[in-house]
Symmetry: C2
Subunit: 425 residues, 2 copies
Amino acid sequence: MEKAQNGDAKEESKDSIGGYDSLHRLLKDNLNPHHFQEVSRLLTGLNCGKAVQTIALPESATALSVEHGFDLQAFSFSADKEILREPRVVRVGLIQNSIALPTTAHFADQKKAIFEKLKPIIEAAGSSGVNILCLQEAWMMPFAFCTREKRWCEFAEPVDGESTKFLQSFALKYNMVIISSILERDIKHGEVIWNTSVVIGNHGNIIGKHRKNHIPRVGDFNESTYYMEGNTGHPVFETAFGKIAINICYGRHHPLNWLAFGLNGADIVFNPSATVGELSEPMWPIEVSRFHNSTWFESVFVCQARNAAIANSYFVASINRVGTETFPNPFTSGDGKPAHADFGHFYGSSYVSAPDASCTPSLSRTRDGLLITDMDLNLCRQVKDRWGFRMTSRYELYADTLARYVKPEFEPQVISDPLLHRKSS
Amino acid sequence: MEKAQNGDAKEESKDSIGGYDSLHRLLKDNLNPHHFQEVSRLLTGLNCGKAVQTIALPESATALSVEHGFDLQAFSFSADKEILREPRVVRVGLIQNSIALPTTAHFADQKKAIFEKLKPIIEAAGSSGVNILCLQEAWMMPFAFCTREKRWCEFAEPVDGESTKFLQSFALKYNMVIISSILERDIKHGEVIWNTSVVIGNHGNIIGKHRKNHIPRVGDFNESTYYMEGNTGHPVFETAFGKIAINICYGRHHPLNWLAFGLNGADIVFNPSATVGELSEPMWPIEVSRFHNSTWFESVFVCQARNAAIANSYFVASINRVGTETFPNPFTSGDGKPAHADFGHFYGSSYVSAPDASCTPSLSRTRDGLLITDMDLNLCRQVKDRWGFRMTSRYELYADTLARYVKPEFEPQVISDPLLHRKSS
């Protein structure tokens, strides 16, 4: 395995709690077996509604994970058996990874090295029979937008560029849909740049693209320096293995973005991301682990995806990149603190949430990883029928509210206490 | 203290984990102090972004909690100090309670007994200087909608009925805004019934009302048998202590409902609820405790309110009733299981979430309780300025999407793989 050159060792030590590398291990070593079992059940329940089952993978896949040192985990969600409809089980793979060379290396070498480190992980997915594989946001480059330097734009590619070509061969070889999030150069529209997911069909064909709808302007997330809000709406891609959509990164903070993919019929929404512990703020040290994590971003990462899966009755597959990326020139974060050269720790922890509030454990927070999940898409409609959130949603009311809100002359619905300015007795 | 007659003892035993009545105690007794501290920090972090501080209450309040046996906890959230604006600290109180007499008692006696058991809790809130007090959903009656029996409609009252009058005296005495959720009888519109929150001003006046917007039709939540979707929009009430709104119970499953209160300018949204462990399904036993809880409903209860607070940059104050309510006639739950006489355990656990993702610990899951929370409303705008979720929300896009969606001829935005029906290679 090629190991990221930037800061992995430092991040390992940050993981320590009470001298242990995970909460799971600390509790296991210090509680009696009965108490450990009860506490584990409770803590897993904290994040997961219904228990997921682990599934066995072929020897070829596990051998690759050992040889190349990436985390490999596999789970299945359960759904009810229906009378009139066969199960529609889809095997989904999520890849999280750190970059492969320092950000000072030649750009072409950096990209090529990421390709090389991803090959065995993609092979493991393919040989495990993954139907739909999703990579992290802007997987083919460092997440350099914190720098505000324009030279990183050179990493951008057209939708049918080298990263897409690299993945098309695997899609064809393994009969696998692949979602590839890249920095896109739009040749036909003045060479502008977008944050884009390319959907590659299981025959190696390009089905289409979607551009990130919501662009952050906060802390080191200087993305609006590079690209604007997407213009592709909320497409759902009908693939050989189901109807899927992509909510790229910061879009997960926007409930209406999740909603729109649901209205268009998605059964699985992927959330390829790049997110870090609370903008380096020392009061929220990065903590842990298998039982999810404790910084602002990290707990929100978990909360929002689960909530979206429940509210919209679909599966959400969340991916975050891994490692600390150090850049050649220092930059500030708009928080009055000294300039620094890294964005913070991308904490991995990729996982999948189901519409019935169950979810998988998460991948490692420091290592590359492949998470494989079997899901019966029938669960989506089962949950819709059971809870009726779509039926009870009153969209007419909200269509009207939003239509009024977007007008400059909008007046909020406020009922003021007529005694507001009377002196208190 | 008057103790609920129904099942409290049984619920206590359900709480046991590994022989302990809370996870907190199990860990404290079995880990060394250093490990306990680390694990506690981590687990609290799981649910809370930023640490809240405990605050001291007057002796008169704590004495009432001891004498009447209700849980009493008090916390404060922090906000930045601004240069041009003074802090706007508001003290909010939430009351959770079980019913006071068996559901077989005379209806008038049942209501009166609830009034009596609430008096000392309201007095404790008043003497603690609470500015805005909120009671649970339909606090003045058992949550009888599971039965589908129409006779429980007798509990309904006009907006200015006896429950409102009971609370008006306390509002005036303590200069306190009170939010009272009742079963409403709408005398002027054919005597129909609504699920309604009445907002009582700090001079004892009625400021207005809001009716529950989303009505469940699932399991034992047979509420649509009794009342329909509310017709009051999404009012924000401008009170002496800030702009507040009420998202009643099942409305918390609807992100657009949360959104609309935000668009109308709420700084605090109250969520008076009545919710139970997963419809009695035995595979998700009710587990715990101070570190929140593990059933479907319970984890969702936490997840949704926190998510709403973050997405909409306001405080969310969540209340759930307490105890198990047994009804005279058995009823079924639409799950093929035998008829039974109770709805399940209302697990209390009331808590407050802040827009910066911090939250308070929750109240007891078995006892009546009063949660007092100081919050600086300035935090709402600070978070809006920082994260910019409102600015980056693209409401125009969604106004258009919803306007199209509600038309019968709506066509989802689907991009189909043109090779969809080609045989795989």
